[in-house]
């Protein structure tokens, strides 16, 4: 495979963007990421984005999003109706063909415009499940209960995950939530859907994230310490919850195997866990100790829908580029109860 690296990463989040639309949210972050990349906007070879029409409530959310890029003269460009992490996968493929040497990747979404827990119900089997309107929190709670029963872990362990995330998030400027909650206080709060409490569930977040990729010598020439993509793979599982073992994430484990997670030590892991129990399920699937997972606080601190998976890659890449980590793994997810998962291994040189 051709050597490809993350050379620049920027993102922004806000609990509820009151003034700006998606294009206005994107434009400054795209400019910031391109300026920091050392690659001129006009030299970028390929552009790919991830967004979700149902957040906007209209068709073609990506069409106006492209106006934040400056696509003139016309550019090589594509879009996935998936988290920006999968846009990064498509861009990585374009770089692998050798046709281009750099790529701009972005993901964006303004989840506060609707009820994201209910919107995600529209992902379910349209004939047999979606008409029942189970929210994504209801499905996560089923998974959390199954996991606790099977693993012997308790709600206290979930509170421990939340407390670690909130402490870590104190150093993350983009965190919507952070602090030093006590385990007892967390366990004293009411259930939203048993066994999940409010702090176990991601905060609704409007966000955008941008990554610039570059290949080989270009990456070395623009960045002192690029974050090289050593492995990148994604896998999907059957859709029906009844057809999967909810207590584990087989597709994450399979993607991790193909991405080569276990072929070296892991200093840092960022996982797209939108619920506390998912941190534990994903740590097990990736084979990493939960204590090194989500030093940014993770999606429990800020979860820009359609950008949070790309942010995980960026948060690992940032730590490699600044020298605080040498080898890390990032994870992104899509679909009900971790149906589809992407794993990216990044390393310094």
């Amino acid at each position: 495979m051709r050597d490809v690296a993350v050379v620049s990463f920027s993102y922004s989040t806000v609990a509820k963007e009151q003034m700006r639309n998606e294009v206005e949210m994107l434009a400054p972050v795209i400019t910031e990421a391109i300026d920091a990349s050392g690659i001129a906007r006009s030299d970028i070879g390929f552009t790919c984005s991830g967004s979700f029409d149902y957040l906007q409530g209209g068709p073609f959310s990506f069409v106006m999003g492209l106006d934040a890029v400056g696509a003139w003269p016309p550019i090589r460009e594509s879009h996935v109706e998936m988290d920006g992490a999968w846009a990064l996968y498509e861009a990585w493929i374009a770089l692998q063909t050798g046709e281009v040497d750099s790529a701009l990747v972005y993901g964006f979404g303004k989840a506060s415009q609707g009820n994201v827990h209910e919107i995600m119900s529209l992902q379910l089997d349209p004939y047999y499940v979606a008409p029942l309107w189970p929210s994504m929190v209801d499905l996560a709670a089923l998974q959390a209960r199954a996991y606790l029963d099977a693993s012997g872990r308790s709600e206290r362990d979930l509170a421990g995950v939340v407390a670690q995330a909130m402490r870590s998030a104190r150093d993350t400027p983009q965190a919507i939530r952070s602090g030093e909650p006590s385990i007892e206080d967390l366990l004293a709060s009411p259930y939203v859907a048993s066994p999940l409490r409010d702090a176990d569930i991601f905060p609704t977040t409007d966000g955008v994230a941008v990554i610039v990729l570059a290949a080989g010598d270009l990456a070395r020439s623009v960045n002192k310490r690029p974050a090289w993509i050593r492995g990148l793979d994604h896998r999907i599982e059957p859709h029906s919850l009844g057809a999967r073992d909810l207590t584990r994430s087989d597709s994450t484990a399979l993607a991790a195997k193909h991405a080569g997670v276990a072929s070296g030590p892991i200093d840092v892991a960022e996982v797209h866990a939108q619920f506390s129990h998912e941190v534990l399920i994903l740590s097990e699937a990736l084979g990493v100790d939960p204590s090194i997972v989500n030093p940014s606080g993770g999606p429990l601190a800020a979860n820009g829908i359609m950008s949070a998976g790309l942010v995980r890659i960026g948060e690992v890449a940032r730590r490699i580029m600044d020298g605080t980590a040498n080898r890390g793994v990032a994870h992104a997810t899509s679909g009900p109860a971790l149906q589809q998962n992407l794993v990216c291994v990044l390393e310094g040189e």
């Binding site: 696509a71 493929i93 046709e99 599982e237 059957p238 859709h239």
Partner: protein, 388 residues
């Protein structure tokens, strides 16, 4: 870096209808996919990855439907991607799938595009009023009619130019059993007397609203060598996009379309598309887009597109047949329409197009798709022979 060769080793498509009440969405995509696998001599387990494309999720009311379709498409345990680039999506989905092979990441990729328009109403799905945006309450036809009027003014094309395409493509569709519309009785007079919807577009100048799916199996050189049927080689593929709100855009003859065509012709070694191609399947959802795209794609000088149509150059027996399958004017499952163009030209160069097979001379053909308000373009050129 040298790219790996890519071939279309299997093609499958549904019968397109206004309402496929006999199948669910999963059943619809599976019908096309099974046919493509059989054509390729493969089963589900042979496939390394699945790439799905469709137009906006609101056309059926299912968000990210590929998640639900993972089982029906045999994707469990595999990578699955979902592409969405507006009306060009069927073409760009095929290109994303082909790049997985070209990059050397996979050997055999199944790609499927579909729309089940009967689940909803596309015109109103396209016309959701957005805050702080000018309302577009007339669907795609209302958007494109002013562009067509501007083209008429620029080129001096007579009013019947569009109607001629409407008749030609419907007569081509009679040769194609998969086409949605079969109108052997159609005449110029019928088109001229059909309802005026958006001046100058009349009812019969517009595409139908269809349920349908298209699938292809793409393979590496090694896979192509083992294929049971003739394959179509990818000689070039390209995508281009331009901004929406930009004063220098020419929506009548977009720069992105010209650049995309120039790129794909360069890759495929085509200097004169009218001479060097045996046929083209081009995204013509409203009849007037044939003359407009003839110019944009370099088949003639600017202003002359309507003359080619009037002379019969693009007819089934013309020197450069456009849309021998009947085109988007005869079948329009929106998200699939681009991939139908790409797959139909693969069938042509494989000699597998059946009743609408054109005569092969150069053995090369162009598949084209566009989307949005003519900002998004995807094209490929396929050939009977392996590229040098």
């Amino acid at each position: 870096m040298s790219k790996n060769a890519v071939a279309v080793v299997g093609v499958g498509q549904t019968h397109h209808r206004s309402s496929r009440k006999d199948v669910s969405m999963a059943g619809l995509v599976r019908e096309a996919a099974v046919e493509a696998l059989e054509d390729a001599g493969m089963t589900w387990s042979d496939i390394d990855a699945v790439v799905v494309g469709k137009a906006p999720d609101m056309f059926e009311g299912v968000a990210m439907p590929e998640l639900y379709l993972a089982d029906a498409l045999g994707a469990a345990g595999k990578p699955m991607l979902r592409v969405h680039t507006a009306g060009s999506v069927g073409g760009s989905t095929a290109i994303v799938a082909a790049k997985l092979v070209q990059a050397g990441v996979h050997e055999r990729v199944l790609t499927v595009a579909y729309e089940k328009q009967s689940e909803s109403n596309a015109t109103w799905g396209l016309s959701v009023p957005m805050p702080f945006s000018p309302p577009l309450v007339a669907g795609a036809g209302g958007y494109f009619a002013p562009m067509i009027r501007a083209y008429m003014t620029r080129s001096g094309a007579p009013r019947e130019s569009g109607h001629l395409v409407a008749v030609k493509d419907r007569l081509n569709a009679v040769r194609n059993p998969r086409a949605h519309l079969h109108m052997p009785e159609i005449t110029l007079k019928m088109v001229e007397e059909s309802w005026l919807l958006w001046d100058p577009l009349r009812y019969l100048d517009t595409c139908p609203s269809s349920d349908g799916a298209m699938a292809m199996v793409l393979g590496s050189e090694k896979v192509a060598a083992a294929a049971p049927n003739p394959v179509a080689w990818v000689h070039g593929m390209a995508m281009r996009s331009e901004p929406t709100m930009f004063a220098r855009r020419d929506q009548i003859n977009p720069q992105a379309g010209k650049d995309c065509a120039a790129d794909v012709y360069r890759q495929a070694g085509i200097s004169d598309p009218r001479r060097d191609l045996d046929c083209a399947e081009v995204y013509v959802p409203f009849s007037w887009y044939e003359p407009m795209w003839l110019e944009n794609l370099g088949f003639c000088a600017e202003g002359d597109g309507w003359k080619l149509t009037a002379e019969g150059a693009t007819a089934f027996d013309g020197d450069i047949p456009w849309n021998p399958s009947g085109g988007v004017l005869s079948s329009n499952p929106i998200g699939a329409s681009g991939m139908i163009r790409f797959g139909e030209v693969a069938q042509q160069v494989r000699g597998a197009a059946g009743g609408h097979q054109v005569e092969l001379k150069t053995g090369k053909a162009l598949g084209h798709a566009y989307g949005g308000g003519s900002q998004f373009f995807a094209m490929w050129v396929v050939g009977a022979k392996k590229p040098e």
